[in-house]
């Protein structure tokens, strides 16, 4: 092993440096110096994002005997995760300044950054062992984050539900990996992909493995934990779970499908197409009857995960660029929607859809931001959401999945109905006691503005999609 191989792990190393600086700051700084903890943490993470953006050369290389793979696609998805997490940090200020959380705000940053490190490892793993470690690093600290509001029972309940489901799913997943190991005798993706045969034991292992991973991405029928956990956890953690976690897991699943299981593609194409149809349909139908905004966005994110999977399983480089693009746009849209919810929840504690009636008359800017986010999630041009869905459908049509695309299109119309319900509540419905004018802090405003710019520009500036297309690879 050459020590120079560590230089390939620049994003990870930079993230570890940020983590160590933050932990020392939290441990040893005086109370007076810690007053600036939040801006310093955000600033450090922004520096990390910029360093990654300019100094990580997107070359394809492997390190540590094939354990660690880096390449243009992996680096790109890391940039996407960085940008998303930075915007999430910006939204957390008011929540972290509350008297019951202010003394543990350092923990929030450290746990989140550690899970991001796990996602990095998961995304660029070249071996099932590293993938498993990355996945656990990305999901165990999240349980602590979900149960972060110690004195609120809903938070603890959501934490218990999350940890039990996460461990159950990873047990099922490594049960599958053990069969893959038994059938092939290796855990390296490259060797597995090259030596894979059409073997019943292998198919069983693959199905177990996929079940475990589908739990993480919350696809139907493995989605039942998602709504409860999303409702119970603090809003910023919900946002983290529904965007960054989900995007990283979807990308990792895609990389594994392309690298390890191309031989079995005729098996997983059938399985995944049924799961996609169920996911989009059930996510939509349950979202229709939700009254709580967080639960509503939970089911909407389940159905969005179906669209992500639609591009994942195309198996071409077109599909991969559509996936990265979809995740990128989805992060911005969800950030904007949750930003508005955070602003209102911090001030009034209201999270029900009926409370949003007449929001436009008291908070026109927030209502406008929410409307654009809903349009983007629903896929109305000229927002970026339209283009991301468009590319997903192109990628799936290109592989001849006509019926699936037709089905997804019908479901897009259904989803428009419930996204527009929120818009209708804010703009048309009358309310005798509307939410009073909400003042938000500067960080949240900046995050909302950046998300708006993202929703507006990512769709219209074509070089972003062209860049994603230039880095992606297929089977």
């Amino acid at each position: 092993m050459k020590l120079s191989e560590y230089l390939l792990m620049k994003p990870e190393l930079s993230l570890i440096v940020v983590f160590l600086l933050l932990i020392f700051y939290d441990l040893f700084a005086s109370e007076k110096a810690k007053k600036h903890y939040f801006p310093v943490a955000c600033g450090l993470f922004l520096v990390h994002t910029i360093v990654c953006f300019f100094f990580c050369v997107p070359d394809s290389a492997t390190a540590f005997g094939g354990m660690y793979i880096t390449g243009p696609a992996q680096i790109t998805i890391k940039h996407v995760l960085n940008i998303g997490l930075f915007l999430i940090f910006l939204q957390a200020n008011t929540w972290l300044s509350r008297p019951d959380t202010i003394f543990k705000r350092g923990e929030f940053f450290m746990l989140t950054i550690l899970t991001l490190l796990g996602m990095y490892l998961m995304v660029s793993s070249g071996n099932f062992l590293l993938f498993f470690i990355g996945l656990e690093m990305a999901s165990l600290p999240v349980a602590a984050l979900v149960a972060f509001d110690k004195y609120r029972h809903h938070s603890a309940e959501a934490g218990a539900k999350y940890i039990f489901n996460a461990v159950f799913s990873s047990a099922v997943m490594i049960f599958g990996i053990s069969f893959i190991y038994g059938a092939c005798g290796t855990l390296y993706f490259a060797e597995l992909g090259a030596n894979m045969l059409y073997d019943p034991l292998l198919i069983m292992g693959m199905i177990f493995f996929m079940c475990g991973l589908f739990f993480k991405i919350a696809l139907v029928p493995f989605h039942l934990w998602a709504a409860d956990v999303y409702e119970g956890s603090p809003t910023n953690v919900t946002l983290y779970l529904s965007t960054i976690s989900k995007g990283a897991a979807a990308f990792a699943l895609m990389a594994i499908l392309y690298k390890v299981f191309p031989v079995l593609s005729n098996v997983w194409v059938d399985v995944i197409s049924i799961i996609i149809m169920l996911t989009i349909l059930v996510g939509n139908l349950f979202a229709l009857r939700q009254k709580n905004m967080k639960r509503f966005l939970a089911f909407s994110s389940i159905s969005q995960a179906g669209y992500i999977m639609l591009s994942v399983f195309s198996g071409t480089s077109l599909g991969m660029s559509a996936t990265i693009y979809f995740i990128f746009v989805y992060v911005f849209s969800n950030l904007a929607a949750f930003g508005v919810i955070t602003a209102i929840e911090n001030k009034t504690g209201k999270v029900n859809m009926d409370d949003y009636n007449g929001l436009y008359y008291t908070n026109p800017k927030l209502a406008l931001a929410m409307m654009i986010a809903m349009f983007s999630l629903g896929g109305i041009p000229p927002t970026a959401g339209f283009f991301s869905k468009f590319f997903v459908f192109i990628a799936a049509m290109d592989q001849g999945h006509t019926f699936l695309v037709f089905f997804a299109l019908i479901n897009t119309v259904i989803s428009l109905f419930y996204y527009l319900l929120v818009v209708k509540a804010m703009f048309i419905k009358k309310n005798n006691s509307p939410i009073e004018c909400v003042k938000t802090d500067g960080y949240l405003k900046a995050s909302l503005v950046l998300s708006m710019i993202g929703i507006g520009l990512v769709g219209l500036v074509s070089c972003i999609y062209e860049y994603f297309a230039s880095v992606s690879f297929g089977i």
């Binding site: 099932f128 062992l129 498993f132 470690i133 656990e136 165990l140 600290p141 349980a143 602590a144 149960a147 110690k150 004195y151 029972h153 809903h154 603890a156 309940e157 959501a158 934490g159 218990a160 539900k161 940890i163 039990f164 461990v167 159950f168 990873s170 047990a171 099922v172 490594i174 049960f175 990996i177 053990s178 069969f179 190991y181 038994g182 005798g185 290796t186 855990l187 709504a227 409860d228 409702e231 119970g232």
Partner: protein, 105 residues
């Protein structure tokens, strides 16, 4: 050692795994749910070790995976116990069907 056929070892680990699944689905006490999860994770470790010992004795990949699996199972237990203690502090009981049922539909 080699008198025991591999199928017998695999049968034991499979039994352990599905006993864990059954316990996970049927137990009401959260500590017992956690025990069932441990049973599942340990069954997988056993699976890895058996495959490595019988099929690929020249290499150590399965053993290493089992070691990491044990470490991660310990980490998971620590977090789960912490969350269960927190629930106990809030409501003084830790039963799945009565204490964590507020979030639904």
């Amino acid at each position: 050692m080699n008198n025991i056929p591999m199928e017998a070892c695999l049968a034991i680990s499979t039994l352990m795994f599905f006993a864990g699944v059954y316990g996970f689905l049927s137990r009401k006490n959260m500590i017992m749910v956690l025990v069932s999860l441990e049973l599942m994770l340990n069954a997988v470790d056993l699976n890895f070790v058996v495959f490595n010992r019988y099929l690929y004795p020249g290499q150590m990949e399965g053993m290493f995976f089992a070691l990491f699996g044990i470490a991660i199972a310990a980490a998971e237990t620590a977090i789960a116990i912490a969350i269960i203690i927190n629930i106990y502090r809030n409501v003084k009981r830790i039963y799945i069907d009565e204490n964590i049922t507020e979030l639904k539909h």
